[in-house]
Amino acid sequence: MTMSEQINKVTELAASQSGVEKCRQDFPCLTQSISGHPLVYLDSAASSQQPLAVIEKVVEYQSHDHANVHRGVHTLSHRATEAYEGARDVIQKFINAENRSEVVYTSGTTESINLVAQSFCRPKMTTGDKILITHLEHHSNIVPWQLVCEQTGAELLVTPIDEAGEVDIDTLFSQLDSGVKILAIAHVSNALGTLIPLKKVIEKAHSLDVPVLVDGAQAVPHIPVDVQELDCDFYALSGHKMFGPTGIGILFGKEKLLDAMPPYQGGGDMILEVSFAGTTYNDLPYKFEAGTPNISGAVGLGAAVNYLQAVGMNAVSTYEHELLQYMSGQLGQVDGVRLIGTAADKASVQSFLLDDIHPHDLGTILDHEGVAIRTGHHCAMPVMDFYGVPGTARASLALYNNRDDIDRLVAALATAKEIFGR
């Protein structure tokens, strides 16, 4: 790269970052006061707020275009189908799936993982087979596999983590080589923020013919995701973590795998022909979309993806990376703070404890200072057990946060210390 190209690149980056900083004003929910303080929302890992573009798109759809999809010959049904399928195309491009038939609408990451557990895994599992997960998974990437183990007699293997919250990759590789039938792994840990080096994990798994499901719920809103580059077999995500509505999510699956899988649920829309002698299933992705779907949710998710693409995922990732470093640094300087989750590569999340103040007490006090954080076990009880704590306080970032938010968080911690006489 020449010097002038480098300068151009830096200027571009600066321009796009200032673009990210302007995003805050697009989110109406953030312009309110809680207990007399302007709201500081640091709980996007639980659920993100929605930009006006998403809210208005859903209102427009519900106000003018709603009907059932894939069914009627009338105008509204046509419009609804266009909106629903158009959103699928937008999402396909966003995660760079090769084919739109690989993009299945679900109710969210949880349903996406359960679908793979029951339709891909369960039919081919038998006593003694192994399923591999890691110690930092969210309950939704643990319990569906425990169910399959109960149903088939398969065994659940768990790769350990270290004190920083990093997955022990050497152990993971040796476990992969022990007859594992699927690896199910987070892209970003919801409790610790750890970013998993997926590319080399997936390469290794594939060299041993182990398919890989990625729980991408905490990754997609924060870093660019390209399912072809990752070469993952399945990728699960949730709309409401990426500025879309609740109750809508995606399962990406490689076409040849989805094609060979039996349907997850039976009903309307997933069939080509039904008689009492038997039923012919519909083509992908409709084989996995039984019943009238969450149409407005899909439309909203499409609008959220358009919003993210307009900002640019590289710009989002760069902006949030710097902000997370600032947050972890500022929190780490507070007397009595113990940071939980200090991996080298992280996204969005910092868990912590303050003195011996229980996270729930901390959460209540911060709320009264207008600062919204998550407290508790974050649906990752094994992670809490690992650190020997009942729960943590967790501050999580999204593109609408800024340094002022973090300064307010740190100031609110001082109030908590004062109340508890620490």
């Binding site: 207990s35 007399g36 729930h360 209540t364 006090i365 009264h368 009942p390 508890f420």
Partner: protein, 160 residues
């Protein structure tokens, strides 16, 4: 009064000195050897987990009470105050405190009700949670465990 000031007052009302004192130095903390009754209270979403033990005489008097476990300041202080309150009481009187406290903290008590006439004594320190609907379950967990223990309940109770 400004919203900020009101909010500060509510916070101070929740974390009164008596509550913080019992949270820091819980009374009757530990396992009660030879307990005749015990029950567990678990709020899995919160992570609060308490076990309460009682020695109840054949005539229905609570001769001793202890608790162990972990939880937030409100749930631990409430359990500590519970043990302080019920030792020496008849189980019926302890249950009176249970129903009075639960109905008053959840705002269900009506003027003239039996529950609203019970003298809560130092348990009034827990009344600060009324302004914090999401924390009422913390303050009542130990009391639901008491109710379960006296009625020989074996399954853990929850207030979530």
């Amino acid at each position: 009064m400004s919203a900020q000031m009101q909010s500060q007052e509510e916070l101070r009302d929740l974390y009164r000195e008596l509550i913080l004192d019992h949270a820091r130095s819980p009374r009757h903390f530990g396992k009660l050897e030879g307990a005749t009754h015990s029950a567990e209270g678990i709020n899995p979403l919160c992570g609060d987990k308490l076990r309460i033990y009682f020695s109840i005489d054949p005539d229905g008097h609570i001769s001793d009470a202890k608790f162990e476990g972990s939880g937030c300041a409100i749930s631990v202080a409430s359990a500590s105050l519970l043990t302080d309150t019920v030792i020496g009481l008849k189980t019926d009187d302890a249950l009176d405190f249970f129903s009075a406290l639960v109905s008053r903290l959840s705002g269900r008590a009506k003027t003239g009700d039996h529950e609203s006439t019970v003298d809560l004594g130092k348990l009034v320190a827990l009344e600060g949670v009324k302004e914090f609907p999401s924390r009422v379950k913390c303050a009542t967990l130990a009391w639901h465990a008491l109710n379960s223990a006296i009625h020989d309940g074996s399954a853990p109770v929850t207030t979530e």
